[in-house]
Symmetry: C2
């Protein structure tokens, strides 16, 4: 018997039939004696429908009132799921974010959870009920409804698991776990049984978008055992995301690299011949930040002849904006030229194992060189090596690295 928090996303509760499926899964855990708290999102499409309705009334909707409107999406789902549970004989009780008092700050649309009052939930669980909580929403100290922003239901799940000291927080999604790389790109990609929070953060931010990053940070901070599973498959243990040192030690025997992530939406900008003086990075990136453009990789090489070349990558959709910002600032910076390239991609090898295994980077560069793939930029962290490549090499690079680091499915294994 365990206390389990399960989170189901919009696709998993996207129709009455799917809600009934979720109810059957929850009932199975309940039947084996587990205490189950279920966190649900709005039915898929519902949040977008409500936002569109609001924008018909007010192009820039009042943030407080927009949260009043869109929080109804999850409220509908919690009621429906409780009905589906009751219909198969499982007593269940629903809670909105306000009712279970998920206290947040007042940043409407992107609120952060401050505290969760779990007493009522605990009483219901003790009484043998399944508790169903609306994800993505809370209340501020004045009682106004808030929402946590897109994907916030994952965060609700983890926060409730932390508040209740749950044994596990299970995130049900439309994939059956975290893979060594994108299975659509590399059919031999293997599902990982376990991954560390740090690796997960690197994987998530690099495009393997299984979990919302904030929920992973939250789980790491509060040491919540997090598991990603498929809501469409009956079997399977999914992927465990953990900070457990025992888990990490066990993994010492595993391959040094856990996965190959990639991001196709990259664009590269280079400032050529900038004066090599203190503050130059700020002079270049300051205007970019002022224009609200997110910067990903940043590379500055040692200068030569008092000048330096400074490169960074941005989301491809923001390339033109970033380029014109730089052009406007070029004279002030004192740079010779601004060049850019939108046909680039980023490929990364991620793994905590590289901490104890030197030589991973050189192995990666050798593999790419053997295929004739030119590396345009390199950036490394403790558990990740990223390279920027010509976009046309993306699939090839991911495949050869996946094979080189021994990530392929063992023949015969799942």
């Amino acid at each position: 018997m365990a206390l389990i928090v399960q989170k189901y996303g919009g696709t998993s509760v996207g129709s009455p039939e799917r809600i009934k499926n979720v109810a059957r899964r929850v009932a199975a855990f309940h039947a084996r004696g587990d205490q189950v708290v279920v966190v649900v999102s709005a039915m898929s499409g519902e949040t977008n429908r409500l936002i569109a309705l609001a924008k018909e009334i007010q192009p820039q909707p009042e943030p407080r009132e927009l949260d009043v409107v869109i929080s109804t999406g999850e409220q509908v789902t919690i009621g429906l799921l409780c009905m589906a549970l009751a219909e198969i004989g499982v007593a269940a009780k629903s809670y909105t974010g306000g009712q279970t008092r998920i206290l947040t700050d007042s940043a409407f649309g992107k609120a952060r959870i401050l505290d969760i009052e779990g007493d009522a939930i605990r009483r219901d669980l003790e009484a043998g009920k399944v508790v169903v909580v609306a994800g993505f929403q809370g209340v501020d100290s004045e009682g106004s409804i808030t929402t946590l922003g897109r994907g916030g239901s994952d965060t609700t799940g983890v926060a409730i698991a932390a508040a209740l000291k749950a044994d596990e927080c299970q995130i049900y999604t439309d994939v059956d776990g975290v893979y060594t790389t994108d299975p659509r790109l590399v059919p031999s990609a293997r599902k990982l049984d376990a991954i560390t929070f740090e690796e997960m953060l690197e994987m998530a931010s690099l495009g393997s978008k299984v979990l919302q990053i904030r929920s992973v940070e939250f789980a790491g901070k509060y040491k919540v055992k997090l598991r990603v599973l498929s809501s469409f498959e009956e079997q399977g243990e999914g992927t465990l995301i953990t900070v457990d040192t025992v888990e990490e030690k066990k993994r010492m025997e595993d391959p040094v690299i856990s996965g190959i992530a990639y991001n196709r939406d990259e664009a590269k900008l280079t400032v050529l011949g900038a004066p090599d003086r203190p503050g130059i990075a700020y002079q270049i990136l300051g205007p970019i930040a002022d224009a609200n453009i997110d910067v990903d990789m940043i590379i500055q090489n040692v200068g030569r002849d008092g000048a330096t070349d400074f490169s960074f990558t941005v989301n491809r959709a923001e390339f033109e904006k970033a380029r014109s910002v730089l052009e406007s600032a070029r004279a002030h910076i004192g740079a010779r030229e601004i060049i850019g390239d939108t046909e680039v991609c980023k490929v990364s090898a991620v793994g905590v194992g590289m901490r104890s295994h030197p030589g991973v980077a050189s192995q990666m560069f050798r593999v790419l060189a053997e295929e004739g793939i030119n590396i345009q930029m390199i950036s490394t962290s403790e558990i990740k090596i990223s390279v920027v490549l010509d976009e046309k090499y993306l699939e090839l690079a991911v495949r050869v690295l996946h094979r080189a680091f021994g990530l392929e499915k063992v023949s015969g294994a799942a």
Copy 2:
């Protein structure tokens, strides 16, 4: 400057465009210095959509969870109306039934209001804001969401007006007031400037369904000045519904009859030759009540030769059910025969004036006789005379009574 509660029904807020219209009307009151609290229903069709969704999950939805689901309808409207007000420069704040703490009992789906906490609303009004409250919903003492049942938004409006001691509660609907009879039937029907609560109750229960009966009772009990207006017309004072004795005195000069109501959905059942003994009414109507059939008019004539004929009317849709209940009970009752007629209707003259004007009933019967209309049943109360007629005479009877009691539009008047 006045404190006004305005209630807008589902049709009045049925689209983004209509919500914007409501905002403009509210803004006009706000601009002239009134403090305005707006109570809104769900957008038309929304509640039915949510109920259908719930029934797909559970044919007999859990009452508590059904209220969680359907209460989202009004929640969406309050948010949207606040946005519409903000868009035209009027500061507004929304409240769900839980947020303004409309405390009800726990009778989910048909809860009754126990108390309203109006302090937060008062503060917002003092600060110059328009307050928008979700109709039809509240919370019980445990914090569970409740709904007041269909039409409950009217009751919310009146209850808030009572709690805030508002100067007037305006119910905006798709008609511009209460008429002397159905204008579709009698084009010369006249809008009443005022009507008493008692008359309104008789009119409403007889088919002039402008206001929910419970809200009228509530307004009478708490002496809330209630006014029915059209949400689609800019001008017009609507109809004032009042208990004010001054109003009633003034009305002494008015015609004795305020309106002619009718109901087409009637069916008549008669138990012939039942023994004329104590308890016979219970023996006949007991099984009908047990079968959950609502009975309207009940007539028992004096007996002859130890036997009596007992008649009553039911909703036409329940005629067959009622008839078979009576047939099963006939032998036990000791009656000779059960007969019935589905082609009947009820026509009523309503007016507090008849208290002080004897002879209204005989005038009514004379008018009908002059047209050769046979009266099948008669029932009277202090302020109402109802007759059951062959359905084919309905339009004729309403028209001649409307004319006979001087209810027609004065030529040239609105």
